[in-house]
Symmetry: C2
Subunit: 418 residues, 2 copies
């Protein structure tokens, strides 16, 4: 079951809107084992839309179209779809009645533009959109399906969940498909690929491994699809375990929807430990990452962002002597920041950062991108020096990632020493 | 000058990555008067890529390709492009040397996968990518241009800015085009559109107004393009001033590349004032926004992230009585947090946040999304209650935005009272 997505709208082409719909649709489709094989975006132009529909329907079983409906679009999409099928229009009374009910509730009169929305291509099956005024449309011809949905994300999501996915399942009865995901932390995509080179080569044709890299992390998703459901379940489990064994255990950071932040949170909760941060160059970003996790208030007590040296000394008790002798960007300073944060905020573990985020402030000995990070409790503190790049925002993001990863490894060592 | 964008990658089709690159590329292209007329996404499949390149190059003057270049992609894109042109490969020694320099600095050995990246199609002009390992490639044939770039957003952006845009300008010499941008803060797109309805209708055909909305902000970009350069400059200035006069002055927050954070920084520097934050529900995000601005250490001294009530009391001197009587999420608490931060960190102005970010922790009186923010100096403190939604991350982001906007208006009032 292959799918081609067509997204329509001038606003998508000129970069005014980022297309989040296709990713969301693909996720819905993945769950039912359907595969998106291509995607085309065109503006609100009749001929361009027809061209895209031709390419799409020639290359896939299912064409999902979003956008180009709605009262300000002059119904160009609906006209193009009708012309694509060589059909005329009929008035859809039910849609008009639904529009009346919506507008009555809002105390608004029905406009001509809205009334025009009730004209539908003759061969359309109408999909009721409880989230907005423009309904979805389902077409079938020559064994192929075409679905047109509004471009408003929550309207599209409603139609996918309640109308399109159930109908596609009934219509195509797709292959049983199972995914397993793990993510690694601290190694790049190419290093991971080296570990898994032979593994990938010996995967059966029903299995596929996807690499999804982000800063310092690689998400590895193994997918198995086959008519034989028992084979699928068995193969995905076996191969997933095999893959995990091939990776150094210290870089396997979590599974499925885990993130580095959520894994750290789970560990802290399980060990009943509290956390704080003392941040210079990361400027609060580290605390932000930690507090994106729901329920983080159970273990995260707070942070001191000490951008000024006075704050490092007064709040975090970094000694003037340390700052003078080694400088604010040094292993000694981040070590004292860790001790200071644990004492000040009454936490078990603290993470500290200090560095030169740039673009200015570098020296020959400590160029822009020089960052020290530290993690410690009352017994032990580990420090690490990073040599990052010249871009300020990226330096902040990388500092946040490396500090979290150092914390993850610190918590892991606690386990092993326990 | 028309452009077709081709984005390559299984991860785009399966919905694991949202394609932000095309919107960014379209924005770069808009600057030089080039128009994106279509966009195609395909997976990492040789034949699909060639199919997309054929469609793209038949329909536009320029084809911009991103993605499919990383070390785990088996160079499928490069092979497809070479086959599209019917050409072979040459080894690019300079790229190998650059890879060696990068890896030496990281203390890592060069892998086979990385070495393979140095083989390039014979007809490629190599575009040096200072942000990563995979270079960009520029092709010209039959009056058409094709450019291949890595899919990593900041690598693509670097290449667009430093290589692709200047080369396209040199190659196609588009119409003289001038943009002027301002951004508003605190009003939505539809409200702004009401203010500018008549203005837009009376714009000459050579002028175009683009709305670029983000959280709480709308960037308004006026573009004028014409063969007559004097007309362009005169028209853009006149119309821009006219547009600005039609907007309430308190919502016009900045111009051109300004951001809310940078405008606030400029004001603080000009007035020689220092700033701190005291954050509960924003969890460091506000300090992070402030410290993304280069040079922010000149006015931002630090932050106390007081996730725990003990930290609010001990560090920020919020009284136990206030917490008991009004709760941590209250106007009284954020007011005391402001005073506490100014005193503790020795700053002139402080911003405070406290709220229920969710998904849990709400009560009937204070549902999830209830947030209090405050800004104050030693003379005056203003507070504001926000009623946000149910999504944790969005609540954090909106709190950050509204707190910055309250700070902007506070600084504006200082001016008017001075």
């Amino acid at each position: 079951m292959t799918v081609h997505i067509v997204t329509i709208g001038d606003e998508l082409l000129i970069g005014q809107i980022i297309d989040t719909n296709s990713a969301k649709m693909a996720q819905f489709l993945l769950e039912i084992g359907a595969k998106v094989t291509g995607k085309t975006t065109v503006g609100d132009e009749h001929d361009d839309i027809i061209g895209a529909l031709k390419i799409a329907s020639a290359s896939a079983d299912i064409v999902l179209v979003t956008g180009g409906l709605g009262p300000t679009k002059d119904d160009v999409t609906k006209k193009a779809i009708a012309d694509f099928y060589g059909t005329g229009f009929v008035f859809h009374q039910e849609t008009l009645e639904r529009l009346h009910r919506i507008l009555d509730r809002l105390g608004k009169p029905i406009t001509d533009a809205l009334r025009d929305q009730c004209w539908m291509p003759q061969n359309a099956v109408i999909l009721t959109n409880l989230m907005g005024t423009a309904p979805g449309m389902w077409f079938e011809e020559g064994g192929k399906v075409l679905v047109s949905m509004p471009g408003v994300p929550f309207e599209m999501e409603y139609l996918m969940e309640h109308e399109v996915v159930p109908r596609l399942q009934g219509r195509f009865n797709p292959l049983p498909t199972v995914h397993r995901t793990l993510f690694t932390s601290g190694e790049g995509e190419s290093t991971i690929a080296e570990y898994l080179k032979n593994f990938e080569e010996t995967l059966p044709p029903q299995a596929k491994l996807a690499y999804l890299p982000s800063i310092g992390r690689v998400r590895l998703r193994l997918t198995v699809s086959d008519v034989d459901e028992i084979f699928v379940k068995k193969t995905v489990e076996e191969k997933f375990r095999e893959m995990e064994r091939l990776l150094p255990p210290e870089i396997v950071a979590g599974y499925d929807n885990d993130t580095l932040e959520s894994v750290i949170g789970q560990t802290l909760k399980a060990k009943n430990l509290t956390l704080s941060t003392a941040e210079s160059c990361s400027g609060g970003y580290l605390a932000h990452l930690i507090t994106t996790v729901p329920g983080s208030s159970a273990y995260f007590l707070g942070s001191v962002v000490s951008y000024a040296n006075e704050v490092k000394m007064k709040q975090l008790s970094v000694s003037e002597e340390t700052l003078r002798q080694f400088g604010a960007v040094s292993g000694q300073t981040v070590q004292e920041m860790v001790a200071g944060a644990n004492r000040l905020l009454g936490t078990d573990i603290a993470v500290a950062t200090s560095g030169i985020a740039g673009p200015d402030g570098g020296t020959p000995e400590k160029p822009v991108g020089t960052v020290w990070i530290a993690v410690g409790n009352q017994h032990r503190t580990v420090t690490k020096k990073l040599k990052l790049g010249k871009d300020r925002l990226r330096n902040i993001q990388y500092t946040g990632f490396y500090a979290l990863d150092l914390l993850r490894l610190f918590l892991r060592d606690l386990d092993q020493n326990a």
